[in-house]
């Protein structure tokens, strides 16, 4: 590499890192807003966030960034090659080109509209009144369509939405994988229902004092590998994980003293995100090589720790005696098998965020089908409620009694987060493929879990996934790590094995 190229790379990275550091300040402000901020501080917090976002954006879309990218590519840095610099240039270029194509007026209108539309959605959901939300949803979708036209897309407008969350992913590719999954999943879930077996759900709805839930959740998060010297756990309304800096990763949860799984598996889920953030290569902080590969890959980490590890028999081999000691009133006369069955209760329900590991994916498939349809112009917003209910009956065998527990339940569409839903199930698919590979690579994974040792899996993830940052796109990463392209097979194998055994099917 010539001295000139080196100097240009250094200049590019310095500028990009400053943008990342500025955004990390905004991340702290956001974390604070959702955990500790005094009630009356919202207005000023809005001003702070707007100013930071404005400065970060201004610095990111500066013409000098475009010049450096062009010069570097002209100087021979191939964005196809397998180096850190190539990956950085490729990803910076992708995001930069989209950012400069977006008219400022559209960005501002979107940001104003989304605030109002989320307000309208909250009211509409409270009254289960889709009609009052419909004009807002049409407006948001219209603006996001304009965004798609501005930044461009290969085949379907919805591809542009996907690119923001899962770079390179297309409507066609997802449709293919999801439809394979749907058929087998609908079948599995109906077999589970037909089995007639049901766990005793009351077990996990007894009194679990919040302070002890916190202690237990922290211990579990630490045991699987979340580093509390480089992170925290706090309380919030809608739990999240945020990576504020290389050694500052914060997870959040909410406690319900009469619902054990909510906080516990929530903590494992967020810790899974957090462990990924803590494992990204610090030396590349602020550049794509130091950042998470995609939302789907991020979700694969949270789902793996939450479900494949956290809801496994082996995990509870280690943790159940501790749980019985901490919650004697709730668990003293409950066997480990009864408990394990109760936390793996599969049954159709209306609300996505309360659903189990298996039916969860059906909630996502349904949303993906509907949002790609209305975004690509194949479904009128007006027809959304009936389309929702029709599909719901088909996949789950039940019909929501109103739109509040139907198509109005999620914030995403009101917030303009179109293209986000599929990343949840992509996460489960990636997780199952990675986990199958890890299980094959590592001897006796279950046995390690039973003795509270999660270091083997953690190291495997660090080595195979975390350290790469965005060096590979998700679709390449899955091939490199597992030797296979994205497919529904591993997830179905995993679920058939687990639930087949539990429900005797």
């Amino acid at each position: 590499m010539s001295e000139k190229t080196k100097a240009m790379l250094a200049e590019l990275y310095e500028n990009i890192r400053d943008v990342a550091v500025l955004r990390s300040c905004a991340s702290l402000l956001d974390w604070d807003e959702r955990t500790y901020m005094p009630r009356n501080a919202s207005e000023h917090r809005g001003n702070q966030m707007a100013l930071l976002a404005g400065i970060a954006h201004e610095r990111f879309v500066a013409p000098r960034i475009g010049e450096l990218l062009n010069n570097l590519i002209n100087d021979g840095i191939s964005i196809e090659s397998d180096t850190t610099d190539a990956a950085n240039i490729r990803e910076i270029k992708r995001v930069y080109e989209k950012a400069v194509k977006l008219p400022k007026s559209l960005v501002e209108e979107l940001s104003r509209t989304i605030i109002l539309s989320q307000g309208a959605w909250q009211e509409a959901r409270a009254k289960s009144d889709f009609a009052s939300f419909k004009p807002w949803m049409e407006k948001v979708v219209g603006l996001k369509r304009r965004q798609a036209e501005a930044v461009g897309y290969a085949i379907a407008p919805y591809d542009a939405m996907l690119d923001d969350f899962e770079p390179g992913m297309t409507t066609a590719a997802i449709s293919e994988v999801f439809s394979g999954l749907r058929n087998e999943l609908v079948d599995l879930i109906s077999k589970i229902a037909e089995s007639g077996k049901r766990p005793d759900r009351q077990i996990i709805l007894r009194l679990y004092p919040v302070d002890r839930q916190e202690k237990f959740g922290k211990e579990a998060a630490e045991t699987i590998g979340f580093d509390f010297k480089s992170g925290r756990l706090d309380i919030t309304v809608h739990p999240f994980c945020t990576g504020i800096g290389p050694a500052d990763v914060r997870i959040t949860t909410r406690y319900d003293s009469n619902h054990f799984p909510q906080a516990f598996f929530g903590i494992l889920h967020e810790a899974g995100h957090g462990i990924y953030e803590q494992g990204l290569p610090k030396e590349h902080y602020g550049t794509p090589s130091g950042d998470a590969a995609s939302l789907g890959i991020h979700e694969s980490q949270s789902r793996m720790w939450e479900n494949m590890v956290g809801r496994s028999r082996a995990f509870w081999q280690h943790f159940y005696p501790k749980a019985q000691t901490l919650f004697p009133e709730a668990l003293k006369s409950v066997s480990q098998d009864q408990f394990y069955f109760a936390i793996n209760d599969v049954r159709p329900s209306f609300i996505r965020v309360e659903s189990d590991e298996a039916t969860y994916n059906l909630h996502i498939l349904l949303r993906f089908e509907l949002e790609s349809a209305f975004f690509n112009g194949d479904l009128n917003i007006a027809d959304l409620p009936s389309a929702w209910n029709e599909k719901f009956l088909k996949y789950f065998g039940i019909t929501p009694k109103n739109d509040a527990e139907g198509c109005l339940q999620d914030v995403h569409w009101s917030a303009g987060l179109i293209g986000y839903f599929p990343t949840y199930t992509l996460g489960n698919l990636y997780a199952a493929q990675f986990f199958a590979r890890a299980t094959a690579d590592l001897a006796n994974l279950d046995q390690s879990f039973s003795s509270g040792d999660f270091r083997g899996l953690l190291d495997w993830l660090r080595r195979n996934i975390h350290r790469h940052g965005q060096r590979y796109r998700a679709e390449q990463l899955i091939k490199i790590v597992t030797g296979q392209p994205l497919s529904h097979k591993s997830l179905m194998d995993y679920m058939k094995g687990k639930f087949g055994e539990l429900y005797g099917i």
Copy 2:
């Protein structure tokens, strides 16, 4: 005002407000660093703070700010006149002119040196080894002298130091007031010692469970007027108050389960600062008219609530029954008089931050005399320990057994905070003058306190002090509010009255 002037003012204010909003982001990061930040996050936090400080500085010293200031003054905005705009121009100009005069190299060298010198001080204090700190102290003082030369001063170099904390204040003015105070105070303290009366100190060193201290402290802070909808109370190592935004004011404390006054009066003190911040005019946020008048005025608010209110008989008339209910083990057989005496124990001691309301000021006078002397070249740093001990014996009648409990006890000098100490006693002086005026203006202030009603004093402070922001310099404000210039008389009257009664002198 012409349209052109209006437009220039608007442009100036917009720029200045952005700088304030950026700095308020840094304030949140600083609060987080001192309360919740994970241990390993320090390095990244340093990068965040440096970037925000750099952007804020760059925007503040932009040539356009200087142009606008000059044009506005040429257009006839007199910085002597009594309007909000005039005060804003006067104060922005003062700070701007100092900022542009400071060479960037000096700012950077100072900031690097201060970090190292604070480390050296910590080690030196731990070993009580002044010799190892001496070269660092000489370096810091040398750099601060260069700063004074760069920004300029009227008579003494130390005047430039004062101007950063107490605009307009001079070495000569402080010397005069402090020397009047010193003579009377030394006399009062020796009379107290001679009285032979001593409270039972053990009363306040019994077990006070931390959770109940927190509850009680919060209740007291709220009762005197700190608004928890626009603020918070958290735990830290070195307590502070920070105004992050117009409705986001955060106070902190530390609890010792065997020392009641530390957290309780600490909370009242920080709440006093916080109440001032919450009372600044929101419509002027980001401009000097919306900012605190000076550190001394700020301290007057904290000291008034902490001491003149919080350590008064009337205050405990209302709060003592609550304290007895909350801390029955410690207080059930303690009378209100015994308790009141115990929290007003006056006796010479070595450590400033542990000293009582009366001797505290002697600690400050001594530091002021020494720092103005070494800064103006009348005392060698090498002679500081002996000068300290000599003065200490003269004022307190006792001699520190080593430099750790002598001239090495405070962080200020290692941190380059020369000129800061006097603001503590200026705060007490202002507080006494304001409080005397408020007592004269408001009927039966004591009676209100006894019934838990602090609204009268709060409103008086809002009206006479808080709403003005920096409209008046401290020296004008005290004259406008009390009709008198700064003087030691009110403080001595207050102390003679209070301690005269308690100690029978």
